[in-house]
């Protein structure tokens, strides 16, 4: 078994399948969790009827979505309209390949994992834009414009913020980054404030890319009906939703790996720590979502270009100087 796993192709196939199944399952029940959590926050029950504690609700939802009539508007561009939901889930899942859960449990130990991650997050804008444009709907069109503006803007602070860990650890591989943190301390506190600010900005940017409140401006139900998914029905709509949750979950996992030391932790096995940290971050995201109002798109741009980008730009030289200084003193 272990010899087999040394072959990168077999390893990629095996962990790839595990990731896809695992992420899909976790995604399904994260919707259940979010609904329960929101229910408790709003002094209601959340799902209770399907299964014990409503635990079978995600399955019921999936069955419902599959039974829905698959409508394509007459004036829509059929090919693009049908391609968009598939791509959006594909890109979101692609990120899972490089998330290091344990030193061995990762589908592809890329040397340029960070680049892969950023590239796929950047591509996430395309299916949204594609689906909205193909829908031939004015609400979707406005939503698409907002999504593109937001996605491209937040790409900048996201890339700059993740440069801080990259400079500190001197690697682009996510698993090496975690290994480095295991040796030299988590990045969130290794350099006072710098790691924390980088984390906050990276987290905000991934929130913005996943279209979560307070950055769910493209979707904006109260303004744009359902944003890019206005014309989508059934499982195609479901796929967009799934992509949103996958993106959110994986963002939490990546933040846990990059800033909170991934599998590093005492006593319990590494996987437990990694999952625990991811779940805590996901709960935090959910909590934020159900307590905040939505920003306006120009305010979002202000936040990005006037605060996030300058802050990250300032962080990079600080980190670089510190790293060179520490290296001169004989390592961090």
């Amino acid at each position: 078994m272990s010899e087999l796993m040394l072959n990168p192709w077999i390893r990629a196939l095996f962990w790839g399948l595990v990731m896809i199944t695992g992420v899909m399952t976790v995604t399904a029940w994260s919707t259940w969790f979010e609904r329960k959590f929101a229910g408790r926050m709003q002094s209601r029950m959340g799902p209770t009827l399907v299964g014990p504690l409503g635990l079978l609700q995600p399955i019921a939802d999936a069955c419902k979505l599959l039974q829905k009539e698959d409508l394509v508007p007459d004036s829509a561009d059929r090919a693009l309209f049908n391609l968009a939901p598939v791509l959006t889930v594909g890109f979101a899942m692609g990120v899972a390949a490089v998330v290091p859960f344990t030193p061995t449990m990762l589908a592809a130990d890329l040397d340029v994992g960070v680049l892969w991650l950023l590239a796929l997050s950047g591509l996430m804008v395309f299916p949204t834009w594609m689906g909205s444009w193909a829908s031939n709907n004015k609400y979707s069109l406005i939503a698409a414009m907002r999504a593109v503006a937001q996605g491209i803007s937040y790409e900048v602070p996201m890339v700059l913020a993740i440069m801080v860990p990259v400079i500190m650890t001197g690697t682009l591989s996510l698993s090496d980054m975690v290994a480095d943190q295991q040796k030299n301390g988590w990045l969130i506190y290794r350099l006072p404030l710098t790691g924390l600010i980088a984390f906050v900005i990276f987290f905000l940017a991934s929130l913005a890319e996943a279209n979560r409140i307070p950055f769910d401006i493209p979707e904006a139900e109260s303004e744009l009906v359902a944003g890019p998914t206005t014309e989508y029905t059934g499982m195609k709509f479901g796929l967009f939703y799934m992509a949103e949750y996958i993106h959110t979950l994986l963002s939490s996992a990546i933040c846990a790996a990059v800033f909170f030391g991934g599998w590093d932790g005492p006593i319990a096995p590494g996987l437990h720590w990694m999952l625990l940290k991811s779940v805590i971050l996901f709960v935090f995201l959910t909590w934020v979502r159900w307590s905040f109002l939505r920003l306006r798109s120009d305010q979002l741009m202000n936040l990005c270009w006037k605060y996030a980008v300058p802050a990250t730009l300032a962080l990079i030289p600080v980190t670089a100087f510190y790293t060179v200084y520490a290296a001169g003193k004989g390592g961090v």
Partner: protein, 398 residues
């Protein structure tokens, strides 16, 4: 001059070029409504957009027209109350009061003090319920159906539900009460009701602080401050009343300036006035009113005088009231502003039904600001402004 600058410049009359849409101007025409999550019912605004900035907005109400005023001409005075309940379905108590006050004035029926006292009390409790609903839906307009806005919405609905329970104990109905009648009330206060009122309103007044804390958030302030400014001049020209007018800096409240019921006995009635005229000012005015109404209700519920709840003869048959020819106007302060009832009685053979009953809904006048205020704002702001106007389509279209 760009299209945006033109829209932000003062516009004397937005309706002048109402249907002259220039396709060369590269504007996108978008229908906000009639079926849209943020239009609070069925209301259509035709938006001419340059990017996301609104250049021109044309409101089209009328999708909920039910012919209530015409229907009232066929019904006798005692039969009209349950029909007007459905006009402003967020504050039905005040609709009932408005028409019945007009009928009493026309027919010359005396209302006993206990009934007057109860009417004041019910109006104030209803105002609390109505403003709570507004607060929840406004937060939802700003925060979306899947987010923080819904949390505020759920909390507000929980409190409103408690008030509806109070009304159910009193009248047997949660919503369309039919509890007012010509000459007074149909349902007397049940035993132990006052204690219930104190319990419910006390809990609500504690929790309003929490909601205010939840909404005094930078994002909320950013979304509302300076958005949708209605200046006092425009407000007066368009006939705005109620919280909208007071948020624009005009100190006017019928409860104090033209007292009816027993409002003249409430000496220290606090009228909230803000000068900014933006969404934030409208929010502040309504929150102060919420507190004030709670205070007045708790004051009134302890001092209900003894006596009959209905003056005149009990109603045995629908056509027992005969009016002489004449006309009256009655205006009362509802949570949305001045609800006017203008009644023309035919007299003679036509004496048992109104000849004409005209209802002046405050929300209709509120919607008149749409073409003046929307231009220059983005679609997101349009939703916030529409929410802050608190329009109830049932009374706009009647």
């Amino acid at each position: 001059m760009t299209a945006i600058a033109r829209a932000r410049a003062p516009r004397p009359d937005p309706f002048l070029d109402i249907d002259s849409y220039d396709p060369e101007a590269d504007l996108m025409v978008m229908n906000l409504g009639p079926q849209h999550p943020s239009t609070h019912g069925v209301f259509r605004v035709l938006l001419y957009l340059d990017g996301e900035i609104i250049i021109k907005a044309v409101p089209y109400p009328g999708y909920l027209h039910r012919g209530v005023e015409k229907l009232c001409e066929k019904l006798t005075y005692a039969q009209i109350t349950p029909i007007v309940d459905k006009n402003d379905y967020v504050a039905p108590m005040l609709n009932e009061q408005a028409v019945n006050m007009a009928f009493e004035k026309m027919l010359g029926v005396e209302v006993p003090p206990r009934a007057l006292h109860m009417r004041t009390l019910l109006a104030e409790i209803q105002r609390v319920a109505s403003h709570l609903l507004w607060l929840g839906t406004f937060a939802m307009d700003l925060g979306g159906a899947l987010g923080g806005g819904t949390s505020v919405f759920m909390y507000c609905f929980r409190e409103r539900e408690a008030i509806l329970d109070l009304f159910e104990k009193l009248t047997g109905c949660r919503f369309h009460y039919n509890t007012h009648t010509v000459g007074g009330q149909r349902h007397d206060i049940p035993a132990g009701w006052a204690a219930e009122v104190h319990r419910v309103l006390g809990a609500i007044s504690d929790r309003i602080d929490e909601y205010e804390a939840m909404l005094s958030h930078p994002i909320f302030l950013k979304r509302t401050k300076g958005v949708g400014v209605i200046d006092a001049q425009l407000a007066l020209e368009l006939g705005l009343t109620g919280p909208l007018l007071r948020a624009s800096g005009v100190d006017h409240d019928l409860r104090r300036d033209a007292p009816y019921h027993i409002y003249d006995q409430i000496k220290d009635l606090k009228v909230a006035v803000e000068s900014d005229g933006d969404c934030l000012a409208r929010y502040k005015v309504r929150v102060v009113e919420l507190r004030e109404s709670i205070r007045i209700s708790r004051l009134l519920v302890d001092n209900v005088p003894e006596g009959p709840i209905c003056g005149g003869r009990p109603i045995k048959q629908p056509g027992q009231f005969k009016a002489k020819a004449g006309q009256v106007y009655v205006g009362i302060e509802t949570p949305r502003g001045e609800l006017g009832t203008y009644l023309i009685a035919g007299g003679g053979k036509m004496g048992d039904t109104p000849y004409r009953l005209k209802i002046r809904p405050p929300s209709l006048h509120a919607l008149a600001v749409v073409p003046y205020v929307f231009p220059g704002h983005s679609v997101s702001d349009a939703v916030a402004i529409l929410g802050s106007l608190d329009p109830i389509m049932g009374e706009v279209d009647r």
